[in-house]
């Protein structure tokens, strides 16, 4: 697992992808952060709120090459014939994207420290926010990785990732349109944004944590299944 993790990390930064991701993340979060500075509050919630859409769009860029590149270059033959389990291979890939993602998220801690020089922010809220952002990203990475495992074309993988991101955003407006109550409950239960918003509002609901972690587990498992299935086809 660590061999794969290490190689994937170095691949992110030997190509422009890692830098593009970080640059976009820093620019947008910086933009939202200056909004916070001008509005004279110590709450970073606006930054975390604003980043939701940006993250939805950025994660597919991180995950598009994760599996597709190996399928295309046939390097999956080296990975799948090596004496390691499929799960540790998939986890290595997953963690590499997660670590790069975390490098982006880490900037929010810098913002919090900057804020702290003016006035103490509510640290528990800040950490709740960061945790929410991490969990949201992890879930999206798992989904993006799964999509990437389905195709050897990186562009298709990215477009598929965007499509998932947009439908997750759409789910919110959809749930407010539905009048049947159990259906509305079900659809809003799927909503990433509602759960994420609770984090940014400083509410730490364990069921939300559990939700995102389950999404990760399910899609890591699906990715493993994709490889197993392909072997049998």
């Amino acid at each position: 697992m660590f061999a794969v993790l290490k190689r994937e990390l170095s691949a992110y930064f030997s190509s422009p992808i890692g830098y593009i991701y970080l640059a976009v993340f820093y620019v947008f979060s910086g933009y939202f952060f200056f909004g916070v500075l001008y509005s004279n509050t110590t709450s970073l919630s606006n930054v975390f709120n604003g980043m939701f859409t940006i993250i939805m769009l950025l994660i597919p860029i991180l995950t598009m090459r994760l599996m597709s590149e190996d399928l295309k270059n046939k390097t999956d033959q080296a990975l799948l014939t090596a004496p390691i389990s499929l799960l540790s291979l998939v986890l290595g890939k997953f963690l590499s994207a997660l670590i790069v993602y975390c490098l982006g998220v880490a900037i929010t801690l810098v913002y919090a420290i900057v804020i702290a020089t003016f006035a103490q922010p509510d640290w528990t809220v800040v950490f709740g926010n960061v945790l929410g952002m991490l969990l949201l990203g992890a879930a999206l990475i798992a989904i993006g990785m799964f999509i990437s495992a389905l195709t050897e074309n990186q562009v298709i993988a990215a477009v598929g990732g965007f499509a998932v991101g947009f439908s997750l955003i759409l789910v919110n407006s959809l749930s407010s349109l539905i009048t049947v109550s159990w259906m509305q409950k079900f659809v809003s239960g799927l909503s990433f944004m509602e759960r994420y918003d609770e984090f940014t509002n400083g509410i730490l609901d364990i069921s939300n944590v559990f939700f995102f972690i389950s999404i990760c587990a399910v899609f890591v498992f699906f990715t493993v299944r994709v490889f197993e299935k392909r072997r049998w086809s």
Partner: protein
């Protein structure tokens, strides 16, 4: 060492591998011959655990590839048809990565250095793989397969796309590797397999049609009785003289060169007859210089035609020799 039993691989309705059974002993070098689409790569992908068979088993040193994949894969070094190289890495980074990936437990730096010297890639060690020529990429792929000194080497068309000099080098290399490893290699080239391998398996349309030593294979389809000679002398008289050799069945003039003074003849004698000495002796008596002589080699396609023809005639007469 390697036991393949009743291997079948279906792609939809198509039988890419059709009930293939063979074993390879420790230290043996086995050649895999077959035309395009015969199922060589598919079989190798199943042996290495990249693909799963539809039915049948593959056992490496007592470990079934699907039941104990880690144990089995630990013992295999695999060079696929298309070397699995990360083009944006340097040779050094790539081999280091593969070393870690395979969890090799030898001294890292020394072992990688050793392998680079064996496959002669030390001079490109710090180059990016993208910029290497096809031959060097093939060698890096081979180096990757050798990491950890696996007992079994599976090499899918290791010499394809190389220039003749490199081809010979790689063949010699594989031959020397065969002294310490159990090797399966696939090829289209009969002479290559004959040179490197202790034993040859021929597959056609997914079916195993022959299994034997290169000698037994070529004996069963001996070409000694077919010769191509080049003689300087009067065409008709030479032809008459050669036709009188005992056992000679057919003499045909196939070419004319050097202003009509030199002729090429194709000779066919009775099966099992060696007429080479006789041809030389008779021409020498008449002082007609013999400028060249070679047995007309069977191409792989010829062997195929023979094997598949025999195969359809009677079910197992295709087995040219026995292992």
């Amino acid at each position: 060492m390697i036991e393949v039993k009743n291997l079948v691989k279906l792609y939809g309705d198509k039988r890419a591998v059709d009930d293939v059974t063979f074993t390879v002993q420790k230290g043996e070098v086995l050649g895999f011959l077959g035309q395009n689409g015969a199922g060589k790569s598919t079989t190798m992908n199943i042996i290495t655990g990249y693909l799963s068979s539809t039915s049948g088993t593959v056992t490496i040193d007592g470990h079934e590839i699907l039941e104990e994949p880690i144990e089995a894969k630990n013992r295999i070094g695999y060079l696929p048809e298309h070397p699995p190289l990360y083009l944006d890495m340097t040779v050094k980074d790539y081999l280091n990565f593969m070393f870690d990936l395979k969890k090799v437990k030898l001294p890292k730096k020394q072992h990688i250095e050793e392998i680079c010297n064996i496959v002669k890639i030390a001079d490109v060690f710090n180059r990016v793989i993208k910029n290497l020529s096809k031959g060097y990429r093939q060698r890096v792929g081979l180096a990757q397969a050798l990491l950890g000194n696996p007992d079994v080497l599976i090499l899918d068309e290791p010499t394809v796309g190389l220039d003749p000099k490199q081809m010979i080098e790689i063949r010699n290399l594989i031959k020397s590797l065969g002294e310490r490893h159990t090797v399966i290699l696939s090829s289209h080239i009969l002479s290559e397999v004959q040179m490197i391998c202790d034993r040859v398996i021929v597959i056609n349309k997914g079916k195993l049609v022959a299994d034997g030593t290169p000698d037994s294979l070529s004996q069963s389809m001996s070409t000694d009785h077919k010769l191509l000679v080049r003689v300087a002398g009067p065409q008709e008289e030479v032809k008459k003289l050669l036709a009188k050799i005992p056992g000679m069945q057919e003499v045909t003039m196939v070419g004319q060169r050097e202003n009509g003074e030199v002729f090429d003849f194709s000779l066919e004698a009775e099966k099992g007859m060696d007429i080479r000495r006789e041809v030389f002796k008779r021409l020498a008596e008449r002082s007609w210089p013999l400028l060249g002589m070679r047995s007309s080699e069977l191409s792989l396609e010829d062997i195929f035609l023979q094997l598949t023809a025999e195969d359809s005639a009677s079910s197992d007469s295709g087995n040219g020799g026995n292992a």
